[in-house]
Symmetry: C2
């Protein structure tokens, strides 16, 4: 299903959820046009026919590899994902995911409801063996570009065995996508000692120690900046709070800097600096982040994305496909869970 050997020679077919996000289809179509112009890609816009065609008409798409696959309606942030999938079986994200399943697209990119995209991915593409949930992760901080955080939002009260599987996915990503040799894995906690942490972390510590991951123990909140580990694992509850907090803090910093430096710097310099501060706190969302653990490439982006961020997410998706990330993750996961000495497979933990 995945392209792996044709490194960049044939175009990657990207199914873009054209209705997704706060600004679809206006910004999604614009982003698709940018992508079609700049990358070796075939953009498949999945969305309500009328609105998408109206947006497309704004551009000269002559010679560009862009086509439309019609869908009906979209899954909204405030909808229950599974109910929405049932009541809107041809919503944009569902149709786009089906294109990956049927082999008519290589990857899906969506800025829409995270819950909707995840539900669609799990039900349409299925989970990798040994997983009961997918997870989200990636280098979420521009200020810590080599530090991957998993899980950032989908799974609450995760068992240690599930966290271990998430760690495997994060390690594969760090090694293959980011080029980090033998990435160090750590659990996010309140102290470095193995006895420090809540029950979940203490139990996970034992499970991780028994695994073949390059586990270096616990790290603390400041250790995103101390390069003690490349893959930091936490429960989705903590991860979700952290990314949203960071995003809020970045915006607050930017606002402070703008006000504070108003008399010292010219407007352009201030605006650029403030924009950088925001970007530095928000990397996964800026570049799109993969949904780990499903049997197909899925890249999710921030709902507020504009055309530039959509282009960045498409570029992430192209690289993800070229590297054959899904197959490698599946192999690494199976290997970890099949190792005879493994004390802590999927079934382990509390």
């Amino acid at each position: 299903m995945q392209k792996q050997s044709d490194n960049g020679t044939s175009p990657v077919r990207v199914a873009l959820d054209a209705m997704g996000g706060d600004h679809g289809p206006v910004e999604t179509v614009k982003g698709a046009v940018l992508a079609a112009k700049s990358a070796n890609v075939e953009m498949i816009l999945v969305g309500d026919q009328g609105p998408v065609e109206a947006e497309l008409a704004k551009y000269d798409t002559n010679g560009l590899a862009i086509r439309l696959v019609p869908s009906v309606d979209k899954i909204r942030d405030d909808e229950h994902p599974l109910q929405a999938m049932r009541s809107k079986p041809n919503a944009s994200v569902v149709v786009a995911t089906r294109l990956v399943k049927s082999g008519d697209a290589d990857v899906i990119v969506s800025m829409g409801s995270t819950g909707g995209s995840m539900a669609s991915a799990v039900l349409t593409l299925g989970l990798m063996q040994g997983l009961e949930r997918p997870c989200l992760g990636g280098p979420f901080l521009g200020l810590a570009p080599n530090t991957v955080l998993v899980d950032i939002g989908s799974n609450l009260d995760s068992r240690p065995g599930l966290l271990l599987n998430f760690a495997s996915l994060g390690v594969t990503w760090a090694r293959t996508y980011m080029g980090i040799d033998n990435p160090r894995v750590a659990l996010l906690s309140v102290g470095a000692e193995s006895t420090k942490g809540n029950r979940q972390v203490q139990e996970s510590h034992r499970v991780f120690e028994g695994s073949h991951l390059n586990f270096v123990g616990n790290v603390e909140g400041m250790d995103f900046f101390t390069e003690k580990a490349e893959v930091i694992i936490c429960d989705g509850f903590v991860g979700n709070i952290l990314i949203k907090f960071t995003e809020g803090l970045g915006a607050a910093f930017a606002a402070f800097a703008k006000k504070r430096l108003a008399t010292s710097l010219d407007d352009t310099t201030i605006d650029e600096f403030a924009a950088e501060l925001v970007q530095l706190t928000n990397r996964t969302r800026t570049n799109g982040g993969p949904l780990f653990g499903v049997n197909g490439p899925v890249i999710l982006g921030h709902g507020s994305s504009g055309a530039d961020e959509i282009l960045a997410a498409v570029n992430t998706s192209i690289r993800y496909v070229h590297l054959g990330m899904v197959d490698i993750m599946r192999q690494d996961l199976a290997r970890m869970n099949q190792t005879p000495n493994e004390t802590s497979g999927t079934g382990a933990g509390r």
Copy 2:
């Protein structure tokens, strides 16, 4: 035990753990001298006699209300607090806490081991009725000066009933110390809906709803900056990760700003700006933060504090004593737990 009526007329007697922190007794003594010069205070330096006297000799303390109470050794960060209290019964923080217990001091201020200070406070002063643990809290972000976060580090896997009691303490602080009328209380979670959150938050949501607090539901990570609630409650695991993360992020931001603006601003302006960025992420630690729930005023500060931060913590302690915070907190807590309609006292929760 607490001064309440003599608002500022007689000096507050502050027992300062002179050996505490990374820079005791050098910075603690310096801070005590600053405090004695600037505030209506009697500084009681508790520490190893020789080293403290040597530091004191560096200053002209003529006419200043500073005296020394000798102690032996200190509790270090890497020691187990309870074991250290047993093996060092006259460690500085223990002797200083005893001065509060015996009525010879009005408040203790320590920059030493948080665990050591807490153990000493709990065992020497005792816990308020209904509590099984103390907690830490305060406005931890300079960028969100009216938002109090409780608990920031002492209690992991807290029961909902304990979190409710912590919320009561935080509310009293926000109302009395910060002057916020009827503070709004929220639970930190991954979504605003009552169904969003891990098990602990979902159970706590029901307990908080049944209380007489001004409970406004769940808030998310970005809501430290959106003014939806003045008192945000989380498990100490999350709170500890958040404050350490924030501190690391503030330092990283400052380093980035210094580098990024090196050619646009003069050195002084950059340095001031960078220092402000650090301060904005670190308010409780800069000004000292109260230990809530013990039967006496205890103000803790950051281990890295210099004389200025120690002075700020002393000033916090003076105000804490003048307001009679401990008595008010005790009364509010008792009232909440004795209300007949209360569905969720200390014994409640999982």
